[in-house]
Amino acid sequence: MQFWATVLLDGLTYASYLFIVSLGLTIIFGVMKILNVAHGSFYAWGAYTAAFAIGFITDNDLSEALFLPAILISAILVGVVLGYIIERFILRKMYNQDIHLIVLATFGVFLIFEDLIIITFGVDPYLPYQPAMMLGWIDIVGLNRGVYQLTLILLASIVAFVCWYGLTKTKWGKLLQSVIYDREISVAMGIDVTKVYVVTFIGGAILGALGGAYVAPTTSVSPGFAIDLVVLSFAVVVIGGMGSIPGALIGSLIVGILRAFAVHQAPILELFVVFAVMAIVLIIRPEGLFAPPKPRKI
């Protein structure tokens, strides 16, 4: 019993930050049909900025209550600035190009931003553990759990709810859904698709950065730590369905819990199991488990 509870909680924690990151990725794919490899940059930069901010707060002995706003502001800042730069200067020029070239261009952008991290933040790892330390631990079924990790699950739930609400109940959400479904018709109906693209991309970027910023206190923030995550979030998006938000949720849950289970039971399978599932889903249902229906065009 304790074993399963632990696996579940570990899986949920991992799934939470996977979800926040993959949500951005899947929304960008759904609206713009771009698989954005540079999403990893949002994650990395979000984490580094938050780490830097937390370090600054700690070094100057400022109030601990500033941690949460610092993290959120870092995420928004990174999302807006990086998202705008990438969309405006790279992506906008490429919308009509071959989809492979767009992916490769985002790969190039990712590499450049990875190097910029080393130039900006240096090569040493950052360990901004103070927020996690502040919240301490509680005992759940005989195991000590970091309270901070539990708040991560809470954050993911809030994000999920806000997105669902935003997409289904607000005007903007309906516009987005329309563009996801068919871009040409949306343009024909008078929707300013360019503006939608910019807003979507920046929104997705903020989500990616939020994932990184919020997770920073629980991990070692060092150059290259986004690389593994990029390919894992691809797995999540593929499993759940590219462009589907409930898909991102289910995908991250599957990946998170599978991985937690593997680490506890059969550590040798940890990396293998996630990608095996990704391959299987692609073979059986290439559009993903929850893909939005796509009419075939001749």
């Binding site: 492979h100 790969f107 450049i112 390919v231 593929v238 040798i268 990396l271």
Partner: protein, 320 residues
């Protein structure tokens, strides 16, 4: 398919180029440059395979699967069977990768565009996951490969170089012959309109399957040769997704216009890498990213299109 292949201009240029390289390397080139040419030519084989797929409008983001599979096949054969003969090693790498490609090809040939890319990525990461965690395969340390032999005699690096150029020539000639054949011409046809090709009576899936196996063989051979030249294999430099990304990068950089393009691109890549590590080791990733973006925006045909313009070559021919 092979008739008149030696009259083909591209083949002739390729053979001349290789002979010049061999002469240079015997007399003039310092060891480290020779190394770079060896790595470039080996990797060029994998790029040739990717080029073949790209002409069919398929981009594989997981070709490091075959590259690494070939390399590890060589390493494992040495560990368990003591095989060090270079001909055997090359054959093993090519055949092992080919078999894997043949099996996976049944699944992959049904997919296009982003799904093809993602599925190939998934398969390569599955292998990565296995290799990185398995202790008996060296996990992230990888395995060592002792220098190769030829028919029982020790093989000096000079002769390894000659052999690599020989393998490259064989592979390139085969591919060129294929491209000139009917099935080869289907490559561009499939890219244009698959349904029409089906109506013409050719099975698109079978054609893609064949191309896929060929590109897998090439990538496997490349991995095997790299393993033999370097002496070391490990999952992070042979199977991880950024290796696949690197291979695709070189493919784009080289251009798809000619069988010589992949080798030129791969060699240039090695030299850029050597100098980048010496002068600005921190900036390597940015250099790759920047070059990639420059190529995509300004030279979509890759380096080969620049060479074509400079030498005024092939301007009347169709894509060959």
């Amino acid at each position: 398919m092979f008739t008149g292949i030696f009259k083909d201009t591209s083949v002739r240029i390729l053979i001349t180029f290789m002979i010049v390289l061999c002469i240079l390397s015997s007399f003039v080139l310092p060891d480290w440059m020779q190394n770079n040419f060896m790595y470039g030519l080996s990797r060029g084989l994998a790029i040739l395979g990717l080029m073949l797929l790209w002409r069919t409008n398929l981009v594989s983001f997981g070709h490091a699967l075959y590259y690494g599979f070939g390399a590890y096949a060589v390493a494992l054969c040495q560990k368990y069977f003591g095989i060090t003969d270079i001909l055997l090693r090359f054959a093993i790498a090519v055949i092992a990768a080919g078999i894997l490609g043949f099996c996976l090809g049944f699944i992959l040939r049904k997919y296009r565009e982003i799904f093809f890319a993602m599925l190939s990525l998934a398969f390569s990461m599955v292998l990565y996951g296995l290799l990185a965690k398995a202790e008996f395969l060296g996990s992230t340390d990888g395995m060592s490969i002792s220098p190769s032999t030829l028919f029982g005699m020790e093989l000096t690096r000079q002769y390894l170089f000659y052999l690599i150029t020989f393998f490259v020539i064989c592979a390139a000639i085969s591919i060129q012959a294929y491209l000139r054949s009917t099935l080869g011409h289907l490559t561009t046809a499939i890219q244009d309109n698959e349904i029409r090709v089906e109506y013409l009576g050719y099975s698109v899936q079978k054609a893609i399957h064949i191309k896929y196996v060929m590109s897998a063989c090439l990538a496997g051979g490349a991995g095997g040769l790299m393993a033999a030249s370097l002496g070391q294999v490990d999952p992070d430099s042979m199977v991880n997704w950024n290796v696949s990304g690197e291979l695709v990068f070189i493919t784009i950089m080289s251009g798809w216009g000619n069988i010589l393009a992949p080798f030129i691109g791969a060699i240039i890549f090695e030299f850029i890498r050597t100098y980048a590590f010496e002068w600005a080791p921190q900036a390597w990733a940015a250099i790759v990213g920047g070059t990639l973006l420059t190529i995509i925006f300004f030279f979509p045909g890759g380096i080969w299109s620049v060479i074509e313009k400079v030498f005024n070559y092939g301007k009347k021919k169709d894509v060959k």
